[in-house]
């Protein structure tokens, strides 16, 4: 909030190894108090990132902290979506994007000075999913070295970008393009697969509502005008709603008529998943993702990367 505040005194800025310790403390002690601790975590993580920025430091500790901060934000996205605790999704995503941009810049610099970062591919993958319709990101990933491009998570992220591509998508600042796939069925199959790690699931859940909306939007004109309402069971299975209640709330939000336990898709007249005069539909999550998350502890998940120390040559440029 204090955007105009003067930069802190040098004595107030924590050195890199202390910042790592601060983040260690958060990972070891505060994650389990989510969702309640969300705003506190948000603030602490931002201040860690700021302290790196103030001292213009982008060595291994900065890579390590930014990487773990991205993972924490991804975890928080899922945890908060599931909970009823109020939080600002927009602020959470903003910090997530900023951390990803910081990482991309550091990875580029390290590469240009002849080094490598062991976890780069994982975060390049998340970056691909952060602006899923921006063609600039496709250009960037194609020019990265083969070991990044061929990485499992990067390949998965590229798959999702293709799957979500949609020639009917109309949004400000976005231009429709030809022959897009809109493979909504495949989107949900993959989300359920163990091949997709839970943090990637968590990020992709941001797109649940729009994938569902544009699936219905696409099916609607394919139906014969006299087609009877399609049973809810069809949509529950295809678009993997957690239960019928969730599906009915979705229909209610988009003014889709439900007749005799079936959806009359012709009543769907909205052109975009965003309805200007309405509050956005509450973010949803998938039960299967929650199940995946239950198999690991939060700290395991966050500390899952390879150590950054020793792999990165000292960077001198900012």
């Amino acid at each position: 909030p204090a955007a105009a505040a003067a930069p802190p005194l040098p004595s107030d800025v924590r050195p890199p190894h202390v910042l790592v310790k601060s983040l260690d403390y958060i990972v070891d002690n505060l994650l389990t108090s989510l969702p309640e601790s969300e705003s506190f975590l948000w603030d602490r993580m931002r201040s860690i990132r700021q302290d790196f920025t103030y001292q213009n430091y982008c060595g291994p500790e900065a890579v390590d902290c930014n990487e773990r901060i991205v993972r924490i934000h991804l975890l928080i996205l899922h945890v908060m979506t599931k909970s009823t605790v109020e939080f600002s999704l927009q602020q959470e995503l903003e910090q997530l994007h900023k951390s990803l941009i910081t990482l991309s810049e550091i990875y580029d610099d390290v590469r240009n000075s002849g080094g490598t970062c062991p976890n780069e591919a994982e975060f390049r993958a998340y970056t691909l999913l952060s602006k899923v319709r921006d063609p600039q990101y496709d250009k960037n990933i194609q020019e990265l070295p083969d070991h990044i491009f061929q990485d499992d998570l990067v390949q998965l992220a590229i798959c999702f970008r293709r799957i979500i591509s949609n020639s009917n998508f109309i949004e400000r600042g976005y231009i429709r393009t030809e022959n897009c796939l809109n493979l909504y069925a495949r989107f949900f199959q993959l989300m359920k697969s163990d091949k997709v790690p839970v943090l990637m699931n968590s990020f992709l859940q941001m797109y649940l509502t729009e994938v569902r909306f544009y699936a219905m939007k696409a099916i609607s004109p394919c139906l014969n005008k006299r087609h009877k309402p399609i049973p809810t069971s069809y949509f529950l299975e295809l678009l993997v709603f957690n239960d019928e209640k969730e599906l009915l709330e979705f229909c209610d939000y988009y003014s889709i008529n439900v007749v005799d336990n079936g959806l009359d898709l012709r009543s769907l007249t909205h052109h975009s998943h965003k309805i200007p005069e309405k509050k956005p539909l509450k973010q949803s999550y998938l039960d299967c993702v929650e199940k995946k998350l239950n198999r690991v502890t939060y700290s395991q998940l966050i500390n899952s990367g390879k150590p950054n120390i020793d792999n990165i040559p000292q960077i001198t440029s900012a």
Partner: protein, 487 residues
């Protein structure tokens, strides 16, 4: 004049408006620069003395920025090391930047300096490329010198304004006359600057910066018609615009620009044919045409146009694209994937790999299903396309066998971009039909519960599956701002 050039002569040249001496090309003025260097070193002027000398010799006629530019040229002469770009680059960019600054304000007599600027640009850019190629050794940033060059040129571009010329009298004078006679020199190099900047932005991996240049070109132009510009510059402009669209996956627009660039380039090619002295030019032009084809062919294929391979026999990548079109026409998805995988490195370098991975499958499915409908449904007098039939076809197309199972749950096997997107489940089958109908490639109705797609009875296949390029032309109209380019 060899060896005898001196400051007096230099100032006389400048006063007489003879600016050719203001060049960074030592091949051209090396002797004069060497003489000036000797004289300047022997007189060892302080910075202030040199400034005063320039001011004194400008005879009150010159403006401040002009004097700064002249001073920086003399500073370059005094200190340039002809054996090292690296130790001279500050001097070079200082002069180039000061020269450009002279051109920003139209109220001064800048026209004679514009050709000088253009010549220096041709020297500075290759020099910046050389320096940037050695950035690791020099310890500079990756595109430091080219970025710097682009920021200098963009200042000049931004300074270009249109204004009505009162001398034209408004009597509908001939366009080509206007071009030659009354156009300010900066206007004459407008398209040159546009192309230089766009090329630089591509080179420094920031092609998104081109959008500002494309958007501001027309508002800045005093020429009424695009065709009033030099044809070579027009071809390059369309080529760059086409590549920009392609990077942004705007296939129809990319196709439209590249196709026009190609037609114009062919017209030059044809006019060169009869002239035997032009062998060198012909080869250059051939390479330029191949550059256009490199992007035009994939753009055209995506929007449903099949190259006439007999017409481009010399094109080096012809066999590659022949195989691609074969896979698409037969509806062979695993063939398409194999093709993408085989040429991944090449396609990635051209930034078209992921675009094709996204935009060719639906075209391939379209041909597959067209084959299924015409050979197995319409031919039997039916108008009902069972999902199961399509499903079987997709399995063959994806080269799946019963024991593959789903990649999603197979142990150990990793998902790649070639097996992660298209998996051939029954749900995928309906999804593909839905997408084809949405894009207008298939006219029919889906019955999800009956697992059936029904189309109009007793009509030719062209009514059920219209031609792709026509459908795309309807659904994706061209960017209206570009219509000026046809004027």
């Amino acid at each position: 004049m060899v060896g005898n050039y001196n400051l007096n002569q230099f100032f006389r040249d400048i006063q007489n408006g003879n600016y050719t001496i203001l060049s960074l090309d030592l091949q051209f003025n090396g002797f004069q620069v060497a003489s000036l260097q000797n004289e300047l070193i022997s007189k060892s002027y302080t910075k202030k003395q040199l400034e005063e000398l320039v001011e004194f010799n400008s005879g009150n006629k010159r403006w401040t920025r002009f004097n700064i530019m002249i001073t920086s040229f003399l500073n370059y002469c005094e200190n340039v090391d002809p054996w090292s770009i690296w130790s001279s680059c500050d001097l070079i960019f200082e002069f180039y930047s000061n020269l450009t600054n002279c051109l920003l304000n139209d109220t001064y007599p800048i026209d004679p300096l514009v050709p000088i600027f253009r010549k220096q640009t041709e020297i500075v850019i290759p020099l910046a490329i050389k320096l940037d190629n050695n950035y690791m050794i020099l310890g500079t940033r990756k595109y430091q010198f080219l970025s710097h060059t682009s920021s200098i040129i963009s200042k000049l571009f931004n300074s270009i304004k249109t204004y009505r010329n009162d001398n034209s009298g408004g009597n509908g004078s001939n366009d080509s006359e206007r071009y030659d006679a009354t156009l300010p020199e900066k206007q004459k190099i407008l398209l040159y600057l546009v192309n230089k900047l766009n090329n630089l932005y591509f080179r420094i991996d920031s092609p998104q910066l081109c959008s500002n240049i494309f958007n501001n070109f027309k508002p800045k132009s005093m020429l009424e018609h695009f065709k009033d510009y030099n044809i070579r510059e027009r071809i390059e402009y369309r080529y760059l615009l086409g590549r920009y669209y392609l990077l942004n996956a705007r296939m129809s627009n990319a196709y439209a620009q590249l196709q026009k660039a190609y037609v114009m380039a062919m017209s030059i090619n044809n006019s060169l044919q009869g002239n035997d002295d032009d062998n060198g030019n012909r080869l250059v032009w051939k390479r330029n045409i191949n550059r256009i084809l490199r992007y035009l062919i994939p753009a055209g294929i995506v929007i449903g146009k099949c190259p006439n391979f007999n017409d481009i026999k010399d094109y080096p990548q012809i066999d590659i694209y022949k195989k691609l079109c074969h896979n698409i026409t037969t509806g062979n998805m695993s063939g398409l994937h194999g093709w993408l995988k085989l040429h991944e490195k090449l396609l990635r370098r051209q930034y078209v790999h992921l675009i094709l991975l996204e935009k060719l499958p639906i075209l391939t499915y379209r041909f597959l299903i067209k084959n299924v409908i015409s050979k197995f449904v319409i031919s039997e007098g039916s108008n009902k396309l069972l999902y199961e039939l399509v499903h079987r076809a997709i399995w063959v197309s994806l080269n799946l066998s019963d024991d593959n199972g789903s990649i999603d749950n197979s142990m150990g096997k990793k998902i790649t971009i070639y097996d992660g997107i298209h998996t051939g489940t029954l749900a995928d089958t309906e999804n593909i039909l839905v997408t084809l109908i949405n894009l207008g490639f298939l006219r029919g109705n889906c019955f999800p519960l009956l697992k059936l797609c029904v189309f109009q009875k007793n009509v030719p296949i062209t009514d059920v599956m219209p031609s792709v390029d026509k459908r795309i032309a309807l659904q994706f109209p061209l960017h209206s701002d570009d219509s000026w380019l046809d004027s």
